[in-house]
C-alpha cells in the first residue's frame, strides 16, 4: 500500500474546529475539560491523550499577504489544525518497550491499545509533544490516522469533516508535490512568509502529516529542528561505558590497597 499523508494548510483553515469534533466523535474520545484558556478562541490548548486534532488560533500583528486595507495597524488571524506527525523516524515507536507502537502498512504510527502497559516512555520521547498518557485509563494515546477508516477504504474523519479542504488526505508523494505548488502560489500572491513545515534535514527524516504555514514554526509551537531521541543513544552509552570502566577500576584499586 502507498504511504498515507496529511497536508494541513494553515492558509485555508478558518478555525471552525470541525476536525476536532469529527475526531472526538469517530474515535469516541473523552472531553478535555470545560475551561477557558484565555488564549484567543483556543480552549483546547494542545494535543493530548484525548485530543488528536487541535486547532491553533494565532492573532498576529502582521499584515496578511498583499492586503491593502488596515496596513497601518497590521493584524492577521492564523489558524492551523495540528495533529500527530506520524514521523518517518518516530521517537515514540523507537522508545516503546512493549512493541505496542508499530508502523502500519500505510506508513502511519499506531499504538495498539491491547499491548500498551502505560510505562510512559513514549511521552518523553516524542519531539513534538503529541503522545500522552490518559491518567484515568493508564495507557498512552494519540492519533491513529483513522487506521480503522483507512482499512475500510474511508478517509480520516478530520479530513472528511474539513469544510475548506485545509486538511487534505492522500498519498505522501502526491501531497508533497501539492504542498510545494501551494507554497509557490501563495508566495506569488504576496504571502512571502509561506513555507512547508516538514523537518526532513533532522534525524526525524520528514513527517507524514506536514503543513503549509505562514511565518515561523515556533509561533505554532512546532519545534524548528526536532530530533528523534535515539540520535542521542550513542553518546549517552559511550559515556556510560567509559564511566563504568573508570568506576570499576576505582573499586578494584580500593580493594587492592
Amino acid at each position: 500500500m502507498a504511504v498515507s499523508a496529511f497536508l494541513t494548510d494553515a492558509s485555508l483553515c478558518i478555525g471552525c474546529k470541525a476536525c476536532e469534533v469529527a475526531c472526538k466523535e469517530w474515535n469516541e474520545l473523552p472531553d478535555d475539560g470545560f475551561e477557558w484558556s484565555g488564549h484567543s478562541y483556543d480552549n483546547t490548548r494542545a494535543l493530548g491523550a484525548s485530543t488528536w486534532r487541535h486547532v491553533l488560533f494565532l492573532e498576529q500583528k502582521q499584515s496578511m499577504g498583499s492586503q491593502l486595507a488596515g496596513i497601518n495597524e497590521p493584524f492577521r488571524w492564523q489558524f492551523l489544525s495540528d495533529v500527530c506527525k506520524h514521523c518517518a523516524n518516530a521517537g515514540c515507536l523507537e522508545a516503546c518497550p512493549t512493541g505496542s507502537i508499530v508502523r502500519t502498512e500505510v506508513g502511519s504510527v499506531f499504538v495498539q491499545p491491547d499491548i500498551c502497559n502505560g510505562c510512559g516512555y513514549c511521552v518523553v520521547s516524542c519531539p513534538f509533544g503529541v503522545i500522552e498518557k490518559r491518567p484515568e485509563d493508564g495507557r498512552a494515546f494519540k492519533c491513529t490516522f483513522c487506521y480503522d477508516r483507512q482499512k475500510a477504504g474511508l478517509i480520516p474523519a478530520c479530513a472528511k469533516a474539513c469544510p475548506t479542504e485545509s486538511i487534505q488526505f492522500g498519498e505522501l508523494e502526491v501531497l508533497k508535490q501539492r504542498g510545494k505548488k501551494r507554497v509557490q502560489d501563495l508566495q506569488e500572491r504576496g504571502y512571502s512568509d509561506a513555507r512547508i513545515y516538514d523537518p526532513q534535514e533532522t534525524s526525524v527524516g520528514g513527517i507524514h502529516a506536514f503543513s503549509v504555514i505562514l511565518g515561523e514554526p515556533e509561533a505554532y509551537n512546532l519545534p524548528p529542528a526536532p530530533e528523534v531521541p535515539t540520535a542521542y543513544l550513542k553518546s549517552a552509552w559511550t559515556s556510560a561505558f567509559i564511566s563504568a570502566a573508570v568506576i570499576f577500576a576505582i573499586i578494584c584499586a580500593a580493594f587492592a590497597f
Binding site: N221, A225, A244, F257
Partner: protein, 334 residues
C-alpha cells in the same frame, strides 16, 4: 463620558502595563502574579504553552533509579572484593544488598505502570534502540545473576563445597557485576535519550553522575553496616570527590537549557543534593574521617544527597518540558 484624549491616555497606560508585564513577568505595582500569569515573552511560542509533554513518572521511578544504582554497584563491589580477597562478611553483605535491590526494583517499576497487570509485556520484545526495553531485560538478567551469586555463596560458606558451586559462584558474581554496572547506568541513558532538553543536553554527564552516586551509596551502606575499612573510605573519598567536581561543573556552566538545574524546586533540590553528595561528604571525610562518627555522617550525607538528586533530575525534566522558549532557542542554535 470620557474625552478622546483621556481615553487615549488610559489606553496607552494599559499598553505600557502589558508591555512591562510581558518583559518582566510581573505586573508593575500590581499584586503578586499567580501561577503562570503574566507570562514572560522570551521569544516566539504559542502563548508560552509547553511544546513537549512532561514526564508522567511518579515517585517510584526516581526511587528506583536510586535503589537500582545501589544494587548494581553493591554487586560490583562484591565481585571486586571476592576477586581481591576481601572479607567474606563484606562480600556476603554486598551480594545480599544487590539481591534485595533486585527484589524491590521490579515492584517499584510495576507500581508506576499505567496498567500494572501488563508488566510482562515489557519482555514481549527486545529492542536495542529502546533504553526502556533494554532496561527491563538488564533488570531481569541482574536479578537472576544476583540470585545465583547469593545462592552459591551461601551454599559454599555453609560447607557445601563443590567445584560446580565454585564455578557457578564466579559466573554469578561476574555477570551480576557486569549487569549491575549496566543497571546503575542505563537509567541515565534512559532519560538522556529523550526529547526533554535538560536531560538530552546532559546525556554525557548523567551516566557518570548516576554511577558515582551508586558507588558512594553502596560504600556508604557498607560503612553504616560497620565495615569501617580503608577500602570503603577510599570509595567514599572517590565518590564524593567526583560528585564535587560534577557539582562545580554544573554551577560554573551557564546554559539556558540548564535553567531547571538552577531555578525552581528542581534547582534548589539539586543544589542541596549536590552539596550533600559532594563538598559536605568530602569535608566530613577530610576532617572527621578518622573517627567512626565522621564516616557515618559522611555516608548518610551522601545517601540523602543521592536520593534527592534523582528526584531533582526528574523534576528538572518536568520544568524543561514546559519551557518552549529554551527548546526553540536550543534548536535554532544547533
Amino acid at each position: 463620558m470620557k474625552s478622546g484624549a483621556k481615553l487615549k491616555a488610559t489606553e496607552e497606560r494599559l499598553e505600557g502595563i502589558r508591555k512591562a508585564a510581558a518583559e518582566a513577568a510581573q505586573v508593575p505595582g500590581g499584586v503578586r502574579p499567580s501561577a503562570g500569569s503574566p507570562q514572560k515573552r522570551e521569544g516566539e511560542s504559542y502563548y508560552g504553552l509547553p511544546a513537549l509533554k512532561p514526564p508522567v513518572w511518579t515517585w517510584e521511578v526516581p526511587l528506583y533509579f536510586f535503589l537500582g544504582g545501589i544494587a548494581g554497584l553493591s554487586a560490583c563491589i562484591g565481585f571486586a572484593a571476592q576477586l581481591l580477597h576481601g572479607a567474606p562478611e563484606l562480600i556476603r553483605l554486598c551480594l545480599w544488598v544487590g539481591l534485595l535491590g533486585a527484589a524491590i526494583c521490579p515492584v517499584l517499576l510495576i507500581a508506576d505502570l499505567g496498567r500494572p497487570a501488563r508488566f510482562l509485556n515489557m519482555l514481549r520484545v527486545f529492542k536495542v534502540r529502546s533504553a526502556m526495553s533494554l532496561g527491563a531485560w538488564i533488570l531481569a538478567a541482574f536479578s537472576g545473576c544476583a540470585f545465583l551469586g547469593v545462592l552459591c555463596f551461601e551454599l559454599l560458606s555453609r560447607g557445601f563445597t563443590n567445584p560446580l558451586f565454585t564455578s557457578l559462584l564466579w559466573l554469578g558474581l561476574t555477570s551480576a557485576a557486569a549487569t549491575g554496572l549496566l543497571l546503575a547506568s542505563y537509567t541515565a541513558v534512559l532519560i538522556g535519550a529523550t526529547a526533554i532538553p535538560v536531560w538530552s543536553e546532559n546525556r554525557r554527564l548523567l551516566p557518570a553522575h548516576f554511577l558515582t552516586s551508586g558507588l558512594g551509596c553502596s560504600a556508604g551502606i557498607l560503612e553504616l553496616a560497620g565495615f569501617l575499612i580503608p577500602a570503603t573510605q577510599i570509595l567514599g573519598f572517590a565518590a564524593s570527590g567526583i560528585e564535587t567536581v560534577i557539582e562545580i561543573f554544573l554551577e560554573v556552566r551557564k546554559r539556558p537549557v540548564d535553567a531547571p538545574l538552577h531555578n525552581g524546586r528542581s534547582g534548589t533540590t539539586l543544589r542541596i543534593a549536590g552539596l550533600l553528595e559532594g563538598p559536605a561528604a568530602l569535608l566530613l571525610r577530610v576532617f572527621w574521617g578518622s573517627v567512626p562518627a565522621g564516616r557515618y555522617a559522611a555516608a548518610t550525607c551522601f545517601l540523602i544527597g543521592a536520593l534527592l538528586s534523582r528526584y531533582a533530575w526528574i523534576w528538572a525534566g518536568r520544568a524543561s518540558a514546559c519551557d518552549p522558549h529554551a527548546l526553540f532557542r536550543l534548536q535554532r542554535k544547533a
